[in-house]
């Protein structure tokens, strides 16, 4: 266990930003911290990184209570509200930020050169941030976050403002870092990225944790026993025992069916085969995280509407 949050609470004047949240993050792997805007993600992360202190509860880092002075060098945090000194040269800036994380001068230079070479940024060294495009400065921001080889990397909406090509470069780097043993906490409200990247997720809403589990578990837990059946021709009779048709597409003949409790997918197949229908495909329809989210968040009547994206 690299990180453990125990009953964290934080109130601001008018609301409870974080209201008794506990979860733990395993060493290695990519962890998704999800929630709608204003759910308390940023407050939670700020407590993990020691920027603010919790009113109650504790953060356990690597088995010991988190000590900002010592452990901060182990953490790389890219906030959602991020930026760089516009007038500072890029190379110097990366070195400066690395040194603030606790690296020595020579090591900071060496690692900056190394990263710049890998991401083909060498020619930027003497440019200023104000001369970079938004995508380029996001790339630089990412480099400055992970340069000091932190064991825990926290990325808050890392892909916002990146074009697909650069987003892919960053995604590859995230996977590479995870493989090399870094633990990554990935905070977002973009569900399609979570499904693609994360192993384990926690969903928070209105300051409370409402979901905690691996992506597979969560999908299994919230599945509605939906299956898609593809045919050569749409069968004549659609009513059968043990299932109900909930959707139909006549163009590429497919049916979406929900299997009743106590029945298995075999019941559906048997029925259509006995009807003489020519089957083409049969798939389980697991809910997307996006669907699960909307369901859960709407179920807890959020203060603000949830941002949805088609998957």
């Amino acid at each position: 266990m690299l990180l453990e949050l125990r009953h964290l609470k934080k109130h601001y004047a008018t609301q409870k930003a974080v209201d008794d949240i506990s979860f733990s993050v395993q060493k290695g792997g990519i962890f998704g911290l999800l929630g709608p805007n204003g759910a308390g993600k940023t407050t939670l992360i700020r407590m993990i990184t020691g920027i603010i202190l919790p009113d109650e509860g504790s953060v356990i880092f690597d088995g010991r209570p988190f000590d900002p002075a010592k452990d901060i060098a182990q953490i790389g945090y890219m906030p959602e509200e991020r930026g760089l000194y516009k007038k500072m040269k890029i190379g110097e800036q990366a070195v400066y930020l690395a040194r603030l994380r606790g690296l020595g001068r020579d090591e900071a230079y060496r690692l900056t050169r190394e990263w710049f070479t890998r991401l083909e940024m060498q020619s930027w060294w003497n440019k200023k941030v104000e001369d970079l495009s938004k995508g380029m400065s996001q790339k630089l921001q990412f480099v400055t976050t992970v340069l000091h080889r932190p064991r825990l990397i926290i990325l808050d909406e890392p892909f916002s403002g990146l074009d697909p090509v650069n987003a892919n470069v960053i995604k590859e780097e995230i996977f590479r870092l995870a493989q090399e043993g870094s633990t990554i906490i990935f905070s977002t409200h973009r569900m399609e990225q979570v499904e693609e990247i994360c192993d384990h997720i926690v969903l928070v809403n209105k300051g409370q944790k409402i979901l905690d589990g691996s992506v597979r578990e969560v999908k299994q837990y919230y599945k509605e026993h939906l299956y898609r059946v593809g045919f050569e021709r749409m069968p004549a009779v659609l009513e059968g025992p043990g299932f109900a048709v909930v959707g139909a597409d006549t163009k590429s003949p497919t049916l979406t069916v929900r299997i009743d409790d106590g029945f298995t997918p075999n019941a559906v197949l048997q029925f259509f085969i006995s009807q003489g229908a020519e089957l083409r495909s049969f798939n389980e329809q697991l809910p997307t995280l996006n669907e699960i989210f909307i369901r859960l968040v709407e179920g807890t009547s959020p203060a603000r509407s949830f941002q949805t994206f088609t998957v």
Partner: protein
């Protein structure tokens, strides 16, 4: 290396390396000197020589008006109010025809009014000539004797000597002390503003660039704030030292041009004529007395106090400016409304200073030089008058202790506002909200 040192280094170097810093540092003293030089030049040049026709039918002046730089007198009988301009005169001085004992006034007729210099000069010249004439006529004294007696009397001055200086036989020049007090207090006022604002802009830049949160995830907000304040303070001191070096250099170059040998020569020239020699001797005398009274000023105390009050005042106000910078967003109007409560005491300080310079022992000056909000400016205006003496040791000590306690307090207070403020986006907080941030753990 300690993180705060890394921050100080960046804050310092990023400013000192800027072209605008180098230019303003070098140009400011040059512009200052050039401005003083041109103003002096034009003031001197603008003194026109007025040609005045004097009509004195009763002979009251006995042709005894001495022409000088400002005025040239010509005694004449054929000029009158209608034709003096045609004859090339700028004014016509009409003596009353009835003679000296009738109490009639002289008339100075001119087309456009004469400059005040010329007018005063004519008044003085006429008064002196009349006085001399009357004395020599009534008391039958040789006019040359009158001149020499007057000269001796004019050479004797009233010297203000402080009780403490009587024993040493030294004299103190209050006007020099006033000048030093005014200059140093005003300098502190300017520096507080310039560098305080620089701190505020730096904090605002970090907030609007959204780099604040990136940095406070590595260092404590307090370290970031102090690094900035100290770094900019070092920029101030650097700029200040360069100015001193440059101004001293310019000063030495100018003194070198007016070689002391020449001045000595003029001074010692025997029988310097009153017309030409006198003004030079006067200005030389002025330079000498200035040098003498500059020497009576307790420079180590003045310079030590200046450095202390500059640094103390800067630290006191820089933290406040940093807190304001952390609280506001981009909106310039927010900046104005939040900086006003901070700049107001500085401005009040300068107003009190202008009064205290004329009366450094007034109750208001004393209190304002003890309270940390105004003490850097007001105390600096009192210190050149003498420590101890005008400013008792206990007052100075109390003022310094309070200023040190003051900046520790503002730093503590503002660090608490700052750490919340730099992470807040959106609407401008009220003062009440900011006070709540202070209380937050």
């Amino acid at each position: 290396m300690n993180k705060i040192l890394i921050i100080i280094k960046r804050e310092y170097l990023s400013r000192v390396r800027k072209k605008s810093f180098i230019l303003s540092t070098i140009l400011t003293p040059l512009v200052l000197v050039a401005m003083i030089a041109t103003t002096t030049y034009f003031t001197v040049r603008n003194i026109r020589n007025e040609k005045i026709a004097v009509v004195d039918p009763a002979g009251m002046l006995q042709q005894k008006l001495t022409s000088g730089k400002k005025v040239t007198y010509t005694f004449t009988t054929d000029a009158d109010t209608s034709n003096f301009t045609d004859k090339g005169f700028s004014a016509l001085l009409l003596a009353p025809g009835a003679g000296i004992n009738h109490g009639n006034d002289f008339q100075l007729v001119s087309e456009s009014s004469l400059s005040r210099f010329a007018h005063d000069q004519v008044g003085n010249d006429v008064g002196r000539a009349l006085e001399n004439n009357m004395i020599s006529r009534e008391l039958k004294v040789d006019p040359a004797r009158i001149d020499s007696i007057k000269k001796i009397a004019a050479g004797i001055k009233v010297q203000q000597v402080k009780k403490s200086d009587v024993a040493s036989g030294g004299s103190s020049s209050f006007s020099v002390q006033m000048g030093i007090g005014y200059f140093t207090a005003f300098l502190i006022y300017l520096l507080l503003f310039i560098y305080g604002m620089m701190v505020m802009r730096g904090v605002m830049e970090e907030k609007t660039n959204r780099i604040a949160e990136v940095i406070v995830s590595s260092v404590r907000p307090f370290e970031l704030m102090m690094g900035k304040i100290i770094g900019i303070g070092a920029v101030g001191i650097t700029q200040f030292l360069i100015w001193i070096v440059l101004l001293t250099g310019i000063g030495m170059a100018l003194t070198g041009a007016a070689s002391p040998d020449v001045l000595e020569g003029v001074k010692n020239a025997p029988g310097a004529t009153p017309g030409l020699g006198a003004p030079n001797a006067d200005s030389l005398e002025m330079v000498n007395s200035l040098t003498r009274s500059m020497a009576t000023v307790n420079w180590p105390v003045v310079i030590g106090c200046f450095l202390f009050y500059f640094l103390g005042g800067y630290l006191f106000y820089a933290a406040l400016f940093a807190a304001v910078g952390s609280a506001v967003n981009e909106d310039p109007q927010d900046v104005q409304s939040l900086t006003l409560p901070i700049t107001l005491p500085i401005v009040i300080g300068i107003i009190i200073m202008v009064n205290s310079i004329n009366d450094p022992n007034s109750a208001m000056a004393t209190w304002a030089s003890i309270i940390p909000f105004t003490s850097p400016i007001v105390m600096m205006s009192r210190v050149p008058f003498g420590v101890p003496g005008t400013v008792p040791i206990w007052e100075l000590a109390l003022s310094m202790i309070l200023l040190a306690a003051g900046f520790l307090f503002t730093t503590w207070l503002c660090a608490r506002i700052y750490r919340t403020g730099i992470l807040m986006y959106g609407k401008k907080p009220t003062w009440k909200e900011m006070m709540k941030w202070v209380g937050r753990a």
